[in-house]
Symmetry: C2
Subunit: 652 residues, 2 copies
């Protein structure tokens, strides 16, 4: 009943980011993928010995299209840097029409069409360098991953611009994959090493309603983990010493989340982005096919991720070794990985779960990522990015302890494996897609981003709020045609102890269902005000988490705070908070492009020991003196001086 | 004036270890190096894909000697497993004569002599597989390291048994090296990638008084870091792709402690064992040559190591990446390396410093290693060893977090790089060498191991004590010939606040010099009793050490304690000590081959959180309940069930 909608985002916070995408990030990334500027890669595990001083992503497509001559350069999934840029640009065009950008995106679509082979195949490395090896080493080839990303981009671009060529390319790709993969004779009974195609095919199905794509997506979901010898068999046939990534042939199926069928999986493990992209597709396909076993699996994996393996900022993936999950309750702060892409994937996963089950827990995670873990992946200038998002950083440790040198303490302009920049931009340019979730006759206000949205059935919603800095939400719901529906509002988990709701001037006593306030709408105009208490909270971790014992994080609204050396004295670990510290919260428009900073005098600092002695009897401990401590939002760290940062603080 | 001495160790604690060496470790290691038993390597970074199921160390020598046919197997320093076994066996023969062992050691000397080339060269990998590459890739070849270890063994074996052949082999090696290395024309103006030859040549000089060896040792000390292009130049000539260890050609001179001359070095860095072996040679040569600049360098590096980069157990080397030091005050407990060999090297380094300067600080470190960091490297059965010695361990973390899987939570019987087993045995079988240090006319009782020692000038010392479990030392000094000398006793840093001394029944007021009590001896019989307070101490780290903030370690006498899952409930991090906890100390002869265990009821344990939620507001924190906590000596951990262990404990 709510089919189409037009949304205008009015939030100051998000307006800034949307302009940033349009005016800074998208043009910057265009320059990167076109090699218009020299790329300087700093401290990147994937950039061995200066081998990544360029992107070459557009150039690869031009060579594959026969427009230029040359050799392929980059990762076997280098094409995706173009596709994700195209997807980001599509979202930008939806709110910031721009002739020049539109020419660029159309030209990219034309280029991709030219590069695509007649049968729909597109993966420039194989086309240029090794056509005989197509689909022959799926464990590492990223062919389906790359085409999946194109399909996402093509669908998005078609949705925004109506460019049918873009959609046609996607359909041709899907048809090519459909022809080659499956359990029929003459098909490859295989799966991709890196999931992505599953969620892409589900999106393509939703646009085209072509059942073939749904079936194919389900095949990839259910086939995973069935034939645990598939990769080894393919690798053997492809030949020894032909790895695209060293060691990936020996790492085992667990790493690929292909150790058993998903219906038997009980936890997330292996490469974080792989498993989370897979879970996104899983949840999507489970919903589309109403497959209960798949939905139960999605639920199990969701719970394991968010209740046992997620940092308080929303970051996931605890180890740099293989960019992977480790195990339940293992959440080291200074060696974690927390890849930006994994946080983006969490948003995608959460959204699919939410569409099956209107429940506040999913929006809580989307919110966590949008204001913390994912957002940390991009600098305030839109042109610098984190691949890794630690909860504790020290430039000296990153430089001098090899176990921590995956942790950059300044964002980089690009990476040899440049997956994160365009992933965070495609998320930030599409936040409008996360405002509402609709199921049956209920429309849920899930993300509290000030907006005006008109639905095609005459319903319009205006949300006015200074969220995330203030906790007051004012809704005006216009329903001129008196459509009967329920309006739901997520009550964030952090606000459950302190919120109130006023409907048309009357305070209402609320009984939440699945963390949602649900109101049947009958009037032509309904005014709802929700007030979340914005007290500063100290948060602790479950005591199964070793690394957070005795420590607290500070949260205000949805924002997780951190201490930074720019505001406080190093070393930061020599501070501790008193019990029940009082914080003042002030919005400072000049600081970090506008943030609420938290200040407290209820902190103490230990006098520094001399350099003369390394160990002391405890009687000989320096005193603590009252001290000021300033905290800023986690997402905004590392935008000033290069220094220490801590989310988890000592507490008296 | 005190030239030779005969020592009998009477300490129960060390008698047990000396019998263990003689009856268990040495026969076991003999079986290992002879491949009498199948070797099972578990979780060893150096054992790639089961390539290390044997030692082959004796076999390599037999092949080089022409006694057998076959191919070389193992590390390029595999020979040293034989040499360090021989050195250990020599020390064992000094206190436990054994005909069978003597036959084995003599036969090994004969074998080594046969394997040695006419010009003195011996390194079986090069002799068997690549004679044309001798001394051509010193950065990685370990040839001088290997010969250095033989020289140490040969000197020790000659000293104990008088076997001149053993010494002759060493001299021939040194002559070979002397011929090839140096700044003369036709010599290699180079240094070894792995120091060891320096300290070995110094030992050889002390036995032979041949100035050539002293000069050669000094050359290696002073040449290091002078020509920073030497390794690269040699590698280039030797040819690309001919590394003995992947990546070691690119790691840079810093790793080899060859980035600048030692007189300009200000801190220890790079591979821990390399730099500490080098420092041992440095201190030795500085003393022998009275070179002040070298002595100052040794002092600087000593201070940096023990005051800024040493774990409280004496372990050193903070990172598994390159088995290396990281930086000052970086002392992570659950990812550290703390190689057993590095702790052995610390003892060697300390002893050389001590011989230049009778000062209590050096014996403090020897004691720390003997009772903690080094001793942890061997199981109570003498047949299992730690390569890595963490201060915090969790079998689950070691298994599932790749950043911690270098940490074994059970000792292994052998390693592909089997340097540690024979290193800890050569230390433990030679503790008698650490009892006394003599300088000018002062004899210092440095290590408090009960013993009876007769010097050749008629002086004899009997020390009766139950150290380390009890703090009372009773000395009887007999001086029948009324030699005039000073007797000094080290007052350990941990006892400085609580000790008293009685000389011939009279309590004496003590003024310490460099942490030493010094008494001129004139009587024929002198009785001295020293009483160290054996209170249990809580120790904290300098607050520049991030990872120990808010935590305490527990020490009694020289012993550092730890909590183990065998005695306490996991997770161990849910315990905390109250302020001023009272401990009871009881010697339990049945536990862990006899240890003083510490028990306290002044601990609290937090009730475990549910699995339903990962983060909570701090108001919602489970209560603490009074709890019992039991601690055992750190050196004895991992001799029971496989479980968690913690040295640093939370404190209220």
């Amino acid at each position: 009943m709510f089919k189409e909608r037009k949304t205008k985002i009015t939030s100051d916070f998000w307006q800034r980011y949307r302009k940033l995408m349009a005016n800074s990030s998208i043009p910057f990334q265009w320059d990167m993928i076109n090699d218009n500027k020299k790329i300087i890669i700093s401290n990147d595990a994937f950039a061995a010995e200066g081998t990544a001083d360029k992107s070459h992503a557009i150039a690869n497509l031009k060579i594959a299209a026969g427009r230029e001559k040359g050799k392929f350069f980059g990762m076997d999934f280098q094409d995706t840097d173009v596709y994700k840029w195209l997807e980001s640009a599509a979202y930008v065009l939806s709110y910031a029409p721009n002739k020049k950008l539109r020419e660029e995106t159309d030209s990219v679509v034309d280029l991709i069409a030219d590069a695509q082979e007649n049968d729909g195949y597109l993966s420039t490395m194989f086309q240029i360098e090794m056509p005989e090896r197509k689909f022959k080493r799926l464990q590492q080839s990223h062919e389906l991953y790359s085409m999946g990303h194109y399909i996402e981009a093509g669908v998005a671009y078609y949705e925004v611009t109506g460019n049918e060529k873009a959609l046609k390319i996607a359909e041709k790709m899907a048809d090519c994959i459909n022809k080659h993969f499956g359990l029929q004779e003459n098909q490859i009974p295989g799966i991709p090493g890196h999931p992505e195609i599953e969620l892409a095919l589900a999106r393509l199905y939703e646009v085209t309603k072509n059942e073939r794509y749904l079936k194919l997506a389900k095949y990839f979901i259910t086939q995973r983990g069935q034939d645990t010898e598939f990769f080894d068999r393919q690798n053997k046939l492809d030949g020894k010493g032909r790895n695209f990534f060293p060691g990936l042939d020996k790492i085992g199926n667990r790493y690929y989340f292909a150790d058993k069928p998903v219906t038997e999986q009980v936890d997330v493990h292996g490469h974080a982005v792989r498993v989370l992209y897979f879970c996104t597709g899983l949840a999507h396909i489970a919903r589309l096919t109403k497959d209960q076993a798949l939905m139960q699996a999605a639920n199990r994996l969701w719970k394991d991720t968010v209740k046992k393996q997620m940092y308080i900022t929303g970051n996931v993936g605890q180890t740099t070794t293989g960019e992977a999950f480790t195990y339940d309750y293992d959440l080291p702060n200074d060696t974690d990985y927390g890849e930006t892409c994994a946080s983006v994937a969490m948003v995608l996963f959460a959204k699919q779960m939410l569409l099956s089950d209107l429940n506040g827990q999913y929006g809580d995670i989307i919110e966590k990522e949008l204001f913390n873990g994912a957002l940390s992946g991009i600098a305030l200038d839109g042109k610098h990015y984190f691949y890794v998002n630690p909860l504790e950083a020290d430039p000296k440790a990153s430089k001098k302890n090899p176990g921590k040198n995956h942790i950059n303490t300044k964002r980089s302009s690009w990476f040899a494996c440049a997956c994160c920049p365009s992933n965070i931009t495609r998320l930030l340019s599409s936040v409008d897609r996360y405002l509402y979730s609709i199921k049956d006759n209920t429309i849920l206000s899930d993300q509290f981003i000030a907006n005006e949205t008109n639905f095609d059935n005459g319903v319009s919603i205006r949300l006015t709020t200074d969220y995330p800095w203030e906790g007051k939400l004012s809704y005006v719901i216009s329903n001129s045609q008196e459509v009967k529906f329920n309006f739901a509002i997520r009550i964030p988990q952090w606000a459950l102890g302190d919120y109130h709701i006023i409907v048309n001037g009357q305070r209402v006593d609320v009984k939440l269902q699945k963390q949602l306030f649900i109101l049947p709408i009958t009037d032509k105009i309904t005014n709802i005000t929700v007030d979340f208490g914005m007290d500063v909270h100290l948060v602790r971790a479950n005591n199964r988490v070793k690394d957070d014992m005795g420590k607290v994080a500070v949260q205000r609204g949805p924002i997780i705070y951190c201490a930074e050396e720019s505001d406080n004295k190093a070393p930061l670990w020599n501070y501790r908070l008193k019990s029940n510290p009082k914080f003042t919260s002030n919005y400072d428009s000049q600081l970090l492009d506008g943030v609420v900073v938290l200040d407290t005098d209820d902190a103490e600092r230990m006098a520094e020991d001399s350099e003369q002695q390394l160990y002391y009897f405890v009687d000989d401990t320096p005193g603590w003196s009252q001290s000021h401590l300033r905290l800023i939002p986690y997402y905004a760290w590392a935008n000033r001086d290069n220094g220490q940062m801590e989310v988890w603080l000592n507490k008296r």
